[in-house]
Symmetry: C2
Subunit: 156 residues, 2 copies
């Protein structure tokens, strides 16, 4: 795992996707804890305030073994799969992966491409509001702790 | 100026205030640009989603010469003055500094104390929503660029 907590392969995919996104004014961070106990591999906001989640899968077993990913749909306006070029993208064309709803991004460590756009399924405004505030606090917290690390024993 | 863009004295006060705040689940970042063209010295969110701005003044001239600070009130639910112990705190008791509205925090580089609480003047929900999303994007952007700096010429 790297410093962001993602495994190496997933971290590479995450970086490439974040580069694609930032060129399009979408800002994401890795490993965002959700209120339901899961953690989004990448989560953030576009310039209109829409919430985006990317679930990164770097192996076939990882992709096919995740039965709980639909829970992410309740926390974003758009959902993408993020896959490395080495993984067969046809896997996420299967109905189980809701190809009419979920987008697909193929990425390496350096760049990424949206192979299938994600449908927009707008969150309820109250949910988007709470998710946005949570994202803001999480990102502000990480920034603050990078610039001024907590002393040992401080519970941040 | 330090890496955050704040002058040394102000950066010290900012760090102390951010430490006080994080103990209270308030997360702020320095130098946050506002839509009106001004920059808040510290701006962030508390755990209930209320927006907090701190304007740091480290000299008497700096404090007395700022006629535009009331513009900040339109972008936060609570506003504080942040002063070092060396500056006479009685200055911000004057009616010009709206002592019934603005709070006062005295801080050094290591810690801070709220000497006068800030009144809560709730923003209109639409304004709080847009400010929260802006804060989230700014913080996510700074985090992203720290972890993966832009190449020379990239316009982030």
């Amino acid at each position: 795992t790297d410093i962001c907590g993602l495994p190496q392969g997933a971290a590479a995919v995450a970086r490439g996707i974040a580069r694609l996104f930032r060129r399009n004014q979408i800002w994401v961070a890795p490993e965002i804890a959700l209120p339901n106990g899961r953690r989004a591999d990448l989560m953030g906001l576009d310039s209109r305030g829409a919430i985006v989640i990317v679930e990164i899968k770097v192996s076939r077993a990882d992709l096919l073994g995740d039965a709980k990913w639909p829970e992410y749909l309740d926390h974003c306006d758009r959902f993408y799969w993020g896959l490395p070029p080495s993984l067969d993208a046809a896997l996420v064309q299967s109905p189980a992966f809701l190809p009419d709803t979920t987008g697909l991004i193929i990425a390496d460590a350096y760049d990424a491409e949206i192979v299938r756009p994600a449908a927009t399924r707008p969150l309820a405004p109250a949910r988007r509001k709470s998710e946005t505030a949570r994202l803001a606090c999480l990102a502000l917290r990480r920034l603050n702790l990078l610039h001024d690390p907590a002393a040992p024993g401080e519970p941040y």
